[in-house]
């Protein structure tokens, strides 16, 4: 479980997140909406542990461990993984090596790569000259190898063409154990109950919702989590009335 309590975060002296409370239970996936600059990426970076995001109040607890002060790599080892929107290029490091590094055990990199159609890019430097879609698939490949329990996705569908969106969407669903297959000795409901993976997905378009059943939607507005309800409803409200109106109406009803 991920538990965030009354979190306040500063970036370069400015308060960017205020009074964030968030709870993601094992097996749950939440989606995070919000206008540009509302602090969505900052929230993900804070959970991942980027030190420039200074936590000035509150705490983050993951799997019962207070990770508020833990460095990035210790969080990663505990099972926090992130798919970046614009990851840096690592010159001279082949994607194949990177994928291997991500895993704590011996893995078949080629086999994993086949699942996201990445085989012919494995021997390229990490993120060097990758297109938008290639970056997403590279990030997913690394997360597959990492086998994290809490997966943070920063706009996984941005820059991905229509053909690849289903590949990206379905891969995320698999990573989050959302693709229940018919298994003889277990009902789909049983499988659902046994899910452990947690997800937090930033999306603007909501396209990704077509592939992944999401449990809850959250709206982040001016650094404050303002709404928590059915993601489809939120999306509808935002597209009909805009963020400001959406946030206003939900605050009123609560």
């Amino acid at each position: 479980m991920l538990l965030i309590e009354d979190l306040q975060v500063e970036l370069a002296g400015n308060i960017i997140l205020k009074h964030i409370d968030l709870e993601i239970k094992p097996g749950e996936t939440h989606v995070l909406f919000g206008p540009n600059g509302s602090g969505k990426t900052s929230l993900l970076m804070t959970i991942m542990g980027y030190p420039q995001y200074r936590i000035t109040n509150g705490r983050i607890v993951f799997k019962g461990v207070d990770i508020t002060e833990k460095p990035i790599n210790e969080r990663a080892r505990l099972g926090v993984g992130m798919s970046y929107q614009r990851p840096p290029t690592i010159n001279g490091l082949k994607t194949r090596q990177m994928v291997q590094f991500c895993s704590s055990r011996e893995i078949d990199v080629d086999e994993l790569a086949r699942r996201v159609n990445f085989n012919n890019l494995l021997d390229r430097d990490v993120n060097s000259g990758f297109s938008g879609g290639e970056i997403k698939r590279s990030e997913l490949l690394q997360l597959m190898a990492q086998d994290a329990d809490l997966l943070l996705f920063d706009e996984p569908e941005s820059g991905v063409d229509m053909e690849n969106i289903s590949l990206v969407g379905n891969t995320i669903a698999t990573l989050l154990q959302k693709d229940c297959e018919a298994i003889q000795n277990k009902s789909r409901l049983q499988q659902k109950r046994e899910r452990t993976k947690m997800g937090l997905i930033i999306t603007h378009t909501g396209y990704i919702l077509d592939y992944i059943p999401v449990d809850k939607g959250q709206v982040l507005y001016e650094g404050v989590l303002s709404c928590s309800t059915n993601p489809r409803e939120i999306l509808q409200c935002i597209s009909d009335f805009g963020y400001e109106e959406c946030v206003r109406c939900t605050i009123k009803t609560h």
Partner: protein, 408 residues
């Protein structure tokens, strides 16, 4: 053909001439008198001490001679081993070659000038030895030829002269190292190298320097590439040295001739490296690329590059990238000179630090900060060298890896 007396006369006049760049060295502090060593046959070569084997290995030379087409080993001033396994590939000590073969005279001091400075002059006046490696027309080496110049004698000035010739349509791969006894304190190496790459020929020359802390090093190299020829020059130095200064020059004299120069330098404290490359593009279709990766761990590195485009339809690119990790200096001096309409020349230079963003990215995949840093540094030094056979690429990787442990 060269004339012995006029060469001596020319050199004598330059005996005290300071080099254009680099700290001046008083050559009178060193001895040039010959140091004799016994010739080592294959069997005895395998019996040298493990310490010496390691010194050779770090300079890319494997005494077992596995996967090598030829070998030249020189200790101090004497040739201790010299042979070739492939028909059409010649490996000869230069003194023997100058005595026995007339054709060598046509190449000796043809590209390099004896009166360039006091170092070239000294090598002309007081030659110890060196190698002549030649691939006959159409002959291609499968495995590289290895050469090593070793200094074991305290206070020695080692003067060598090498000539490397790839005849038409031939292909020659050479891995060469310079190394010293681990106990050596003071010494100077002066090395003249002249490369002749003829029509449709290809030379890859990979040099690994493995000096001692107080060594002075003054190589002087010139290459000439004819029509459709390719000269691939890789230079690796990750060890301390008191002062190293070299500025090898390549002349592309035939249509479509290509030169690619790659260097990887890691600068240790108290060490000074003034290293560069200069390429003259003289014919249409010429291409040149100079790529340097430098890391300073407290040393002083001057990374030079100079491309001179003399005619239209040439393409040249220069790339100097430096990382300062533990103090020191990196001074990148990229120079481009276009002399005609239609030249295409560019350069890219950057001196900086490892981006925090990259470290964090790797940490978010589970690496600790130290692992992430060394992974990025190793990646920085991992330059893709087009045209380098996989076998030599593996040697380059091995050299980097071996020194890696000491550096990081």
């Amino acid at each position: 053909m060269y004339d012995k007396d006029s060469l001596r006369e020319k050199a004598a006049k330059a005996a005290h001439k300071k080099a254009a760049i680099g700290p001046d060295i008083d050559l009178d502090e060193f001895q040039r008198s010959p140091v004799e060593h016994e010739y080592l046959d294959d069997e005895r070569l395998l019996k040298i001490s493990e310490e010496e084997k390691r010194q050779f290995l770090m300079a890319g030379v494997d005494v077992s001679k596995k996967e090598r087409m030829g070998t030249y080993l020189q200790m101090d001033t004497s040739v201790v081993h010299c042979d070739t396994k492939q028909e059409g590939i010649e490996v000869i000590p230069i003194k023997t070659a100058l005595e026995k073969y007339d054709w060598v005279q046509d190449y000796y001091w043809k590209l390099a000038s004896a009166d360039q400075d006091k170092y070239t002059a000294s090598a002309a006046l007081d030659l110890h030895n060196g190698y002549v490696i030649r691939a006959l027309p159409g002959v291609k080496t499968v495995y590289p030829i290895q050469a090593c110049l070793y200094i074991g004698k305290e206070g020695l000035q080692q003067n060598v002269h090498n000539i490397i010739i790839a005849e038409e349509d031939s292909e020659l791969h050479i891995i060469t190292g310079c190394s010293t006894s681990p106990h050596l304190k003071k010494g100077i190496h002066v090395g003249i190298s002249e490369f002749f790459i003829k029509k449709n020929a290809k030379i890859s020359f990979t040099m690994i320097h493995n000096w001692a802390e107080d060594m002075m090093v003054r190589p002087r190299s010139v290459a000439q590439v004819e029509e459709n020829g390719l000269f691939l020059n890789n230079y690796i130095c990750m060890k301390p040295v008191r002062s190293l200064q070299m500025y090898p020059t390549t002349h592309l004299v035939g249509d479509n001739a290509v030169a690619r120069l790659y260097s990887i330098i890691v600068g240790s404290p108290e060490s000074e490296y003034d290293v560069g490359g200069r390429v003259f593009l003289k014919k249409p279709g010429n291409k040149a690329e100079i790529v340097a990766r430098t890391i300073s761990n407290g040393g002083r590195i001057i990374s030079r590059g100079h491309l001179i485009g003399e005619v239209p339809d040439i393409k040249a690119h220069l790339e100097c990238k430096g990382l300062i990790l533990k103090g020191g200096l990196i001074y990148a001096v990229p120079e481009l000179e276009g002399h005609a309409d239609g030249v295409e020349m560019s350069h890219e230079a950057a001196v900086g630090k490892i981006a925090q963003e990259e470290i964090f990215y790797l940490m978010s995949r589970g690496m600790d900060e130290e692992e992430a840093t060394s992974t990025i540094v190793r990646g920085f030094l991992n330059v893709d060298i087009p045209g380098l056979p996989p076998q030599l690429k593996a040697e380059v990787d091995k050299a980097i890896e071996l020194s890696d442990k000491d550096v990081m």
